[in-house]
């Protein structure tokens, strides 16, 4: 098997044994990337940086000083600021922006010896569930329905990351998750994606969408890889005041596969009306797997689940409208061409109309509205109260002894690109129905591929854990992964 198809764990071991060099491993990914242009996953390629980092990694490996991520070629979501490399958040308003600084996450990964292959496609400012809001045009899911040429969405917002990992263009990728943007695309492409506890990973240098919800995490080919890479991304950062000053456990060491006596909660509110039978069946299989591994399965109730989406779609746009106020055409990015006599207000208005796509504009305006005088209490404050209740729902079940919660990751398999073009914006928001609760409550959540639907598309389940308990969540995911034995890959057409 060509090296670009390897997991991080396999590559780490091969690199340490000297069976392959980081340069050769990187070259195999660069070749796959050039052959994968049809997926539109990599939107800025950085082969020179990659090879330079790979050579440095080889030197460290030779010196016997090689952390786990040393020499591992990664794709980086375009939302991360990377020094001297375009970092556009898939928006025209940041066209040409080359940060003078490096995000904390990429800094940590590079210090650990990781190699950056390039920047990955995404929904504009991470606002979307299908990658179709990207200024680069959408990424494409490497998976297709059996006997069909219809192009499917890789999900969003981390759709480029998901497509790149699933198609073996890189060993793993960074993603970010504000309402499901790691877990939904991971489920749509048959890979693993974990959103850690809010505060586990520094947000510094990641283009902000909704600061109380955003978290970065790894998107990988296996649960073990997620554990390895999350360890390298995590940790306290004085530059992000919400990053937690807690020790980072050895996540990989937590993958014992032993979950005997643990109690897994099954929330009845996640059994949505009109849920496809295949998702229902997948969930039942997951429950069986947990039982079979010696866990106790218990029905639980999270009574405010239904209100998570409407609360999210008040809070996230409200925060976005503040965060995106910085794009004013003054300090960086796009500035509109002005007409004779245009003043500074026209400059703002024209710049933002030209620079932001329709979904981003809509969300900024929704946020502006819910924060405006007279509506602040009715919408924004009410949503924050409902958020407190959603968080309390989880606290209640965790206090009752539930160790983790098992749910579907998405309400459907990947859908066709363009299929939702005429749908109401709210229809697209429903994609996040199983994932947003986790962001609102700040909990760790992981999507694991568990099976294929009748059309041959991957489906995933989600595990939700207690705050700061990524280690256990990863172990449950590892059990699910082992028992599901998901090994299917997309058939290469690109």
């Amino acid at each position: 098997m060509s090296a670009n198809t390897w997991t991080i764990a396999a590559a780490r071991d091969a690199l340490r044994k000297g069976e392959i060099s980081a340069v050769d491993l990187t070259m195999s990914c660069l070749t796959a990337i050039d052959a994968g242009d049809g997926l539109n996953a990599f939107v800025h390629k950085t082969p020179e940086i990659a090879l330079e980092q790979a050579r440095a990694a080889d030197a460290r490996l030779k010196a016997g000083e090689a952390p786990a991520m040393c020499g591992i070629p990664l794709g980086i979501k375009d939302l991360f600021c990377t020094r001297g490399v375009p970092s556009q958040a898939a928006s025209n308003i940041l066209k040409g922006f080359r940060p003078e600084y490096e995000s904390t996450v990429t800094t940590k990964l590079f210090e650990a010896g990781a190699v950056m292959l390039g920047k990955l496609n995404m929904d504009e400012f991470a606002m979307g569930s299908s990658n179709e809001t990207s200024a680069y045009g959408n990424a494409v899911n490497p998976w297709r329905r059996k006997g069909s040429n219809v192009q499917l969405t890789p999900g969003g917002s981390s759709g480029g990351s998901a497509a790149a990992v699933a198609a073996d263009l890189c060993l793993a990728a960074t993603g970010t998750d504000t309402g499901g943007s790691i877990r939904q695309p991971a489920a749509f492409t048959g890979i693993v994606g974990i959103k850690p506890t809010y505060g586990r990973v520094s947000r510094w240098g990641i283009v902000a969408f909704a600061s109380s919800l955003d978290q970065a995490g790894p998107m990988t080919k296996s649960v073990r890889d997620a554990a390895i890479m999350l360890g390298a991304m995590s940790g306290h950062d004085p530059k992000d005041s919400t990053s937690a000053d807690l020790p980072v456990p050895d996540f990989e060491a937590a993958l014992t596969g032993d979950i005997r006596g643990k109690i897994i909660g099954i929330p009845k509110e996640y059994r949505m009306d009109g849920m496809p039978a295949e998702i229902e069946a997948l969930w039942a299989r997951g429950i069986e797997m947990m039982r079979d591994a010696g866990a106790e399965v218990r029905d639980i109730s999270l009574p405010h689940t239904k209100y998570a989406l409407p609360a999210y779609y008040v809070i996230a746009p409200a925060e976005a409208s503040s965060n995106l106020a910085r794009y004013d055409g003054v300090r960086y990015g796009h500035r509109a061409k002005l007409a004779q006599g245009d003043g500074i207000t026209e400059m703002y208005e024209k710049t933002r109309a030209e620079g932001f796509g329709p979904e981003v504009q809509r969300r900024i305006m929704v946020g502006t509205y819910v924060l405006s005088a007279g509506f602040y209490d009715a919408y924004y404050n009410r949503a924050r109260k409902v958020r407190a209740l959603i968080k309390r729902d989880f606290e209640v079940v965790f206090n009752e002894g539930i160790d983790a919660i098992l749910t579907p990751a998405t309400p459907s398999a990947a859908f066709g690109l363009g299929e939702m073009a005429d749908a109401d914006p709210v229809q697209m928001y429903l994609n996040d129905v199983f994932t947003v609760t986790v962001n609102l409550a700040g909990l760790p959540g992981i999507a694991v591929p568990v099976g294929l639907d009748a059309q041959g598309l991957p489906l995933g389940l989600q595990l939700i854990g207690r705050p700061w308990n990524e280690a256990e969540v990863l172990n449950y995911a590892h059990v699910l992964e082992n028992r599901a034995g998901f090994v299917a890959k997309a058939e290469k057409w690109w």
Partner: protein, 95 residues
Amino acid sequence: MAIDIDTARKVAKLARIRVEEADLPRLAGQLSGILGFMEQLNEVDVAGVEPMTSVTPMRLKRRADVVTDGNIQAQVLSNAPDAREGFFAVPKVVE
């Protein structure tokens, strides 16, 4: 609550996003749909509930009130669409 065209115009203005007059009806319709979806929140009994202000209950770290960075004017200005003589340049603000 349904958003009328005047409200849509006002929101666009507050958000500093130019929306052409012809596009306002469609925008008003979309905003109404999204806000209608949020109306569900009115079903929830929130009496006595404090709005959530921090995700993880923790005291934010304080840092010493000292200069930690600086003397990087060229870097600060390097991405500006219009920088002149060490400043960000914008259209004339005061007549």
